[in-house]
């Protein structure tokens, strides 16, 4: 049983006394251990050759890029929703970039810190078109397939409780099993974050027979998480995202980053390490931000590649557009 192993690992990790900082540990072992999804198109998915891709995957690559100047020095460890936090607590992974929702109790009770939100999401429902349902409030009495160990499971209960409706939850350990059972008609609806609904719909036998209901029943700020107690590491993870957002805002891309080194703009010069040494305070090199943009790209590029226009999911930027374009992505300045 994996959770037993993880719990044992947790006890051992915790019983072994003081630990070095995560950055030093990562440098020592020569790679970043990144807790990843077991397979979610757009966020974290390994192809037949074992190549990982997706928004969260690129996030871990960005961290590896800034530490090692090499985005390939990441070991992706697939984790189910149920096991992910235990794996992080026990030190099996250094960072958990696995479309996890940032909630108060996960920070306050699980001993975790969530970095910057790299995807603003919300929970929705996938239903069969021929069921004739047009809104979530018409789901009274429905059976709903859901993945275990997620905020989704709780939001679902809240939603039906709030509206005084009945439902039957069919809870599965992985998203894969949940969507498969939905496809076998075990459930009338499948629920998870809207971005995932689009990704999981692709796995159905006839994706066109299903539709995502327009209602969004919750706030799901998805953010990478780290263990509490290492502020330096927490800062690195948080600022990795901010670098990518700042880069997009300043018009720096993977392609033009070398050109931009000659830019007269003080903001760009500071970000790319031409002026000042902002990496030092993080325990990183002077060109820490340059490495991220050079190897991985800015937030817009990562988004388009993972879930946006250049992907199969074709999700619009929406809430995830820059603040200046009506979205919520806003990064503090580097100075």
């Amino acid at each position: 049983m994996r959770s037993v192993c993880l719990a044992a690992g947790l006890v051992l990790a915790l019983a072994s006394g003081a630990q070095a900082g995560v950055l030093d540990t990562v440098r020592q072992k020569g790679f970043l251990a990144c807790g990843s999804n077991t397979g979610l198109a757009g966020f974290g998915l390994a192809d037949s050759k074992g190549e990982w891709s997706g928004l969260d995957v690129d996030f871990c690559r960005a961290i590896a890029a800034t530490i090692f100047n090499d985005p390939t020095k990441v070991k992706f460890i697939p984790l189910t929703a149920k096991d992910r936090f235990t794996a992080l607590q026990s030190g099996e992974v250094d960072v958990l970039a696995r479309n996890g929702t940032w909630t108060q109790s996960r920070e306050a009770e699980l001993g975790l810190n969530f970095g910057a939100v790299n995807y603003f999401d919300g929970q929705g429902f996938l239903v069969r078109k021929k069921a004739g349902v047009t809104a979530a409030k018409e789901l009274d009495g429905a059976s709903v397939c859901v993945q275990q160990g997620t905020t989704t499971e709780l939001n679902l209960a809240d939603f039906f409780r709030t509206h005084g409706m009945k439902y039957e939850p069919a809870v599965f350990a992985t998203s894969d099993e949940a969507i498969k059972s939905y496809d076998l008609n075990r459930c009338d609806a499948f629920t998870t974050d809207v971005s995932q609904l689009y990704a999981e719909r692709l796995k159905l036998v006839n994706p066109d027979e299903h539709m995502v209901l327009p209602d969004v029943i919750s706030k799901e700020p998805l953010a990478p998480a780290v263990r509490q107690g290492d502020s330096q590491w927490f800062n690195i993870v948080r600022w990795t995202h901010y670098v990518m957002v700042n880069a997009e805002e300043l018009g720096i891309t993977k392609a033009n980053v070398d050109e931009k080194l000659k830019s007269p703009s003080p903001e760009i010069r500071r970000l790319l390490g031409v002026e000042g040494d902002f990496g030092k305070g993080l325990g990183l090199s002077r060109d820490w931000a340059y490495r991220i943009i050079k190897h991985v790209g800015n937030y817009g590029e990562v988004f388009d590649r993972g879930v946006g226009e250049n992907s199969r999911l074709k999700i619009k930027r929406g809430l995830n557009d820059l603040w200046s374009k009506g979205g919520l992505q806003y990064a503090p300045p580097v100075r």
Partner: protein, 458 residues
């Protein structure tokens, strides 16, 4: 008298052994304590919960099979009990069914009938060599795929079970009694009486049966468009019995019936020992067990109603439901474990000396009686210990429920509760203790049974 030579305690092998063991125990204890203490302080430093405060907090999630009342506003502790009961239900039903099927298949493997023997061999070899998880997934799919959605539910609409009115009940009882009396009489007297007896018996049975199949609502079985039993891919929906005031009398009558039939059994045995005459124990106890509760039921004004499942919106509401996950899990566990039990039974039977069976045959016992009275009681001594193992395996394997979405202890408690509370160490520890306790309890019961069955050595 010579005093034994005194030696230093250090050189006394008994003392030396004790000292070493105490020292080892102290070291191991210290290490464990140190590790636990370290873990606790590190958990506290990282803000991970170290206590059981979460037990009484609101769970906030729902479970789709709850045999005790539970809702999203219940506590995590309540969710634990729901999961534990679900585990116990699967394990309990699984053990009973696996034992029955296992014994049947085990005996079939030794049958002289080629067809039976081959079937049993194929069954055992196929089912015990395919990983259980695959079998569970197979059964889950095999159940879900062919069944219709709720709107196209299969319903048993041709025959309806309802209770007859008191008059019909009395007439049927008299008819059954008459049929029985006629049958007994026809055994004693010959020719004309036999013919008469058979005729009376047939008439009585026919009359009784007719009054049961009366179309006009008086009968027990009649045709109607709904029985309240529906089968679809959300499960099997059946009417839920609701017990009214006075149903405790029925229960009491049933208890009385059990006590009386046990008493009659003891009396019949004593009588057989004394006089050699057999008594109709089965018949009398069946009568007591059925008639007494039925009379109490009638006398207390039929305190029973049924809540029927009704198709409303997406699914049936009301009534009771047996979920496809439960059926798939039970089926998978039972068939898998039965294959191992069959092998255990076969080895047990083969361990009984061949001469035992031959001796029984020489005494004139039929094959079935030989198996039941001579071979199996001796085989049980070999069978019970490995059988206990299979019971333990079945209970522990039920934790694979998590893969097909059955809300057992591991799925609910070590799954959702662990994840929502983050109290991984506590939750896993509790889960381990529960499975340990279940296993020890099973072992203890089986050990008691084993002691009863053990050979009385002289």
């Amino acid at each position: 008298m010579r005093t034994p030579p005194t030696i230093s305690l250090l050189h006394d092998p008994r003392w030396r052994g004790a000292i070493w063991q105490v020292a080892l125990a102290v070291i191991v204890g210290f290490l464990l304590w140190e590790a636990a203490d370290n873990a606790m302080s590190n958990m506290r430093a990282r803000g991970i919960p170290t206590n059981f405060d979460f037990w009484n907090r609101t769970a906030g999630f729902d479970i789709n099979q709850t045999l005790i009342s539970y809702s999203a506003v219940s506590t995590y502790g309540r969710a634990f009990w729901v999961g534990l009961i679900n585990t116990l239900v699967v394990a309990g039903i699984g053990i009973v069914l696996a034992t029955v099927i296992g014994f049947v298949i085990g005996v079939m493997r030794l049958s002289t009938n080629l067809l039976a023997r081959s079937f049993a061999s194929v069954y055992v070899e196929a089912l015990r060599n395919i990983p259980l998880l695959l079998q569970l997934l197979f059964w889950y799919n095999a159940i879900l795929v062919p069944l219709p959605a709720p709107r196209g539910s299969l319903s048993m609409s041709s025959i309806t079970l309802s209770l007859p009115d008191t008059a019909t009940l009395v007439v049927s009882a008299i008819a059954a009694g008459a049929a029985f009396a006629a049958w007994r009489l026809s055994l004693r007297f010959a020719s004309i009486v036999t013919a008469l007896g058979v005729a009376v018996a047939l008439m009585a049975l026919l009359f009784g049966a007719l009054s049961f199949v009366g179309q006009s609502g008086g009968g027990m079985l009649h045709f109607a468009d709904h029985l309240g039993v529906y089968l679809n891919n959300r499960g099997l929906f059946i009417p839920e019995p609701q017990f009214g005031a006075g149903s405790e009398w029925v229960l009491l009558a049933f208890g009385l019936g059990i006590a009386l039939s046990l008493g009659y059994g003891v009396y019949a045995r004593a009588r057989q020992m004394r006089t050699g005459k057999q008594s109709p124990v089965l018949l009398v106890s069946m009568c007591l067990l059925v008639a007494l509760p039925l009379i109490a039921f009638e006398a207390s004004g039929r305190p029973l109603a049924f809540a029927f499942p009704v198709l409303r919106g997406f699914n049936f509401q009301g009534g009771m439901r047996i979920s496809p996950e439960f059926v798939a899990l039970t089926l998978g566990l039972v068939l898998y474990t039965a294959a191992f039990i069959a092998e255990t039974v076969r080895s047990g039977i083969q361990a009984v000396a061949k001469g035992q069976g031959e001796a029984a045959a020489a005494l004139g016992l039929r094959q079935g009686l030989t198996l039941r009275l001579v071979v199996l009681p001796q085989a049980m001594r070999v069978i019970i210990p490995p059988l206990t193992n299979q019971y333990l395996n079945l209970t522990k394997n039920s934790s694979l429920a998590v893969f097909i979405g059955y809300p057992d202890l591991v799925q609910v408690f070590a799954g959702t509760v662990l994840n929502q509370t983050g109290a991984a160490v506590q939750v896993i520890a509790v889960t381990m203790v529960v499975y340990l306790a279940l296993s020890l309890l099973t072992s203890m019961l089986m050990a008691l049974y084993n002691r009863r069955m053990a050979l009385a050595e002289r």
